[in-house]
């Protein structure tokens, strides 16, 4: 996983609550057996006027000009601003894969659904939780102009006209900053896991029966 770097980018204001993973990446695109290539179908049903299917040439489809992701000023944006409970619904990691493939590295929300929140970190995306009034402030700033935001994970702040600090779990923070391979990290404890298994199966022998 790439190391998370300091980011300055225009922010895409997607003014919705409860954006679910079906909206982020509709199910027909989950048939892929790859981790990449989902970007063109991010928010497919909102982004295009026609019905999307895997294998279509997305550059030839009719775009919904009113949808915020399609505004030319946000073409290279890395930051998404949303309301509460972002990423609710299914556990599909295709949702963060699609966001990442589009170029999103940071999502700022009032709250996130648990599984989605977790999935973001596994893919180098930083989900930032701010207070309701702070989110409101950011949205109102985006109403009048294209807002540029600075994100500093090391020092845990985002800065637009004002600076907002955010909380993050230390382990998750260091995983992102160092681009850690969590499986490799866990496998450093191979012996501990094997020892655990030994005593575990002697206490609960029926679980070993297969």
């Amino acid at each position: 996983m790439d190391k998370f770097k300091h980011i300055v980018s225009k922010v895409i204001p997607l003014d919705r609550s409860n954006v679910d993973t079906d909206a982020i990446i509709p199910k027909q695109f989950l048939k892929s057996i790859k981790r990449t290539g989902f970007g063109p179908n991010l928010f497919d049903e909102w982004r295009y006027l026609d019905h999307g299917e895997p294998g279509m040439d997305n550059s030839k489809r009719s775009i919904n000009p009113d949808f915020v992701l399609n505004k030319p000023q946000f073409k290279d944006s890395k930051i998404l601003l949303v309301r509460e409970n972002f990423g609710c619904g299914s556990s599909r990691e295709h949702a963060p894969w699609a966001l990442l493939d589009f170029g999103i590295k940071v999502i700022i929300a009032e709250s996130f659904a648990d599984i989605f929140y977790n999935n973001c970190f596994k893919n180098g995306i930083l989900p930032i939780t701010l207070q309701k009034d702070e989110i409101e402030e950011l949205f109102s700033e985006t109403e009048t102009k294209t807002l540029e935001i600075e994100v500093n994970l090391e020092k845990q702040f985002v800065k637009s006209l004002k600076s907002y600090s955010f909380e993050i779990d230390e382990f998750k923070k260091s995983s992102l900053l160092n681009g850690l391979d969590e499986i490799g990290l866990t496998l450093e404890n191979k012996g501990v896991i094997a020892n655990f298994e030994k005593s575990y199966f002697s206490n609960y022998p029926w679980l070993k029966q297969e």
């Binding site: 048939k31 057996i33 648990d114 896991i193 029926w206 679980l207």
Partner: protein
């Protein structure tokens, strides 16, 4: 120290603790075709073996056709995904119930049915509805594909402790109010983010009275309240269900296991981070009207009025009504439907089918219904239903009787809604486009879905004649 059920199971699985981050051991890993291929690919790239392949059970369910199964999968992309699972299982010598196996079905139906889901286990699957298995006093949760790979390679997950929430449903529900109605009612009360960060334990008289099927329906929907995990304590109902299940422990092992399982309940003086009390007698049959499971009302009620909601809800409310093609203040029983779907990991077990068939017996579906389908949760459920003659009741009433799979719950196979079509569905999500782009989903219990099929609109099952 007094512990909650969640804490008891969590603590037994701690391999390593570093401050508030834990490495916990995983007993059972269920996999399906959609969220596993990238995990297998990751292992291959890093040349990592599976830690304990006996913990893994695989089944294709999301993409499988529910008709003409002998002809195979028509959609070439779906076909590749299912074949990839077949190949991965073959390469790693994993237990799989493939499409031709009578034990094939929806992953959250077959786990319990085969006795692969046992009390006290930690159970994961790359699927959010893994919470279902918590009905057995297990700690079960949905994970993403990176975590699927992590569990395959290490048999462990990196976890923080969740907060605990007790949902205490006291009193007795009306006999025709089902576990689905309790689940939807609870979500209506606490909201779709109400359980975020929590493991929910459902308790109280109304929960104890539920069958295992009912408890599974309830725990299945915990994720729709935002909780990764829902659970119910072990009691006689749990133990009786598991006896003689194919993969459940046998003989002396059973006795040992039962003794341990009987301890799987929250201690009387255990402290929960949050307690929600619900009066079961207040719960009527529920119908969702919007595009989030929290947008739900009782059958005697109406869609809310915008003026009665706080202003921060107005935009979502308006958007939901527009998508659903409904108006504020419309009585729920005036909403008509085009299609009816009985199935999904929420409501496709034998009891769900019996509940619907009991109502449908001797009745015909309304001529206004374009399609009504019953999709059993597994080959075993299908066989059982057919031995009880339920298939005939469904078909005589005008329902189609299908092969098992996820089907129109998420419409990854050919079963889907067309744009603008309205469906009474026993599934779990009414999100925009969930059952097909532009499709409109109303979440209900199996009996309520059957009644909507007969009348062409929602009716109160409590006022209906039931012959069975």
């Amino acid at each position: 120290m007094a512990k909650t059920l969640y804490e008891k199971i969590f603590d037994k699985h701690v391999v390593l603790a570093q401050e508030d981050t834990y490495l916990i051991y995983i007993d059972r890993h269920l996999i399906h075709e959609v969220t596993s291929p990238q995990a297998f690919e990751g292992l291959k790239i890093h040349d990592r073996p599976l830690w304990r392949k006996e913990s893994i059970v695989a089944v294709p369910d999301h993409n499988v056709p529910t008709t003409d199964r002998d002809k195979g999968i028509q959609d070439p992309i779906s076909k590749i995904q299912v074949e990839t699972l077949d190949q991965n299982c073959k390469d790693h010598n994993l237990l799989q119930f493939d499409m031709s196996d009578v034990r094939q079905g929806i992953v959250h139906v077959i786990g319990p049915e085969q006795g692969l889901t046992l009390p006290g286990m930690t159970i994961v699957c790359g699927d959010s509805h893994t919470s279902t298995h918590g009905a057995f006093g297990a700690l079960a949760m949905g994970i993403g594909t990176s975590e699927v790979e992590h569990v395959m390679a290490t048999q462990c997950l990196i976890q923080k402790k969740l907060k605990t929430m007790k949902i205490d449903v006291q009193g007795k529900t009306h006999p025709l109010v089902s576990a689905k109605d309790i689940a939807l009612f609870v979500i209506g009360q606490i909201g779709t983010a109400g359980g975020t960060g929590y493991a929910i334990e459902f308790c109280g008289d109304a929960i104890q009275q539920l069958s295992m099927e009912g408890r599974m329906t309830l725990c299945n929907m915990a994720i729709e309240a935002g909780a990764r995990s829902g659970m119910v304590a072990v009691d006689d109902t749990t133990i009786n269900y598991l006896k003689n299940k194919p993969f459940a422990p046998k003989n002396g092992m059973w006795d040992l296991a039962e003794k341990e399982w009987r301890t799987l309940h929250s201690d009387i003086d255990a402290v929960f981070d949050k307690v929600v009390e619900i009066d079961a007698t207040m719960i009527e049959p529920q119908v969702s009207w919007g595009t989030s499971p929290e947008m739900v009302k009782g059958i005697s009620e109406s869609i809310p009025k915008k003026s009665n909601l706080t202003s921060d809800k107005h935009l979502d409310f308006q958007r939901a009504l527009e998508y659903m093609g409904l108006n504020e203040n419309t009585p729920i029983n005036e909403i008509s439907v085009d299609k009816v779907f009985i199935g999904s990991c929420t409501n496709s077990r034998i009891e769900d089918l019996r509940e619907a068939a009991r109502y449908l017996k001797g009745k015909k579906i309304n001529p206004s219904i374009k399609l009504a389908m019953a999709v059993p949760g597994s080959g075993i459920v299908k066989k059982q239903a057919e031995s009880e003659g339920l298939d005939k009741i469904f078909m005589e009433s005008g329902f189609q009787w299908r092969d098992p799979g996820c089907s129109m719950c998420l419409a990854m196979n050919a079963d889907r809604l067309e744009s603008g079509e309205r469906c009474a569905s026993t599934s779990n999500r009414n999100f925009e486009g969930r059952q097909g782009q532009g499709g409109r989903t109303h979440l209900v219990s199996p009996a309520m879905a059957a009644a909507a099929a007969v009348h062409g609109h929602f009716v109160d099952i409590r006022n209906e004649e039931i012959s069975g």
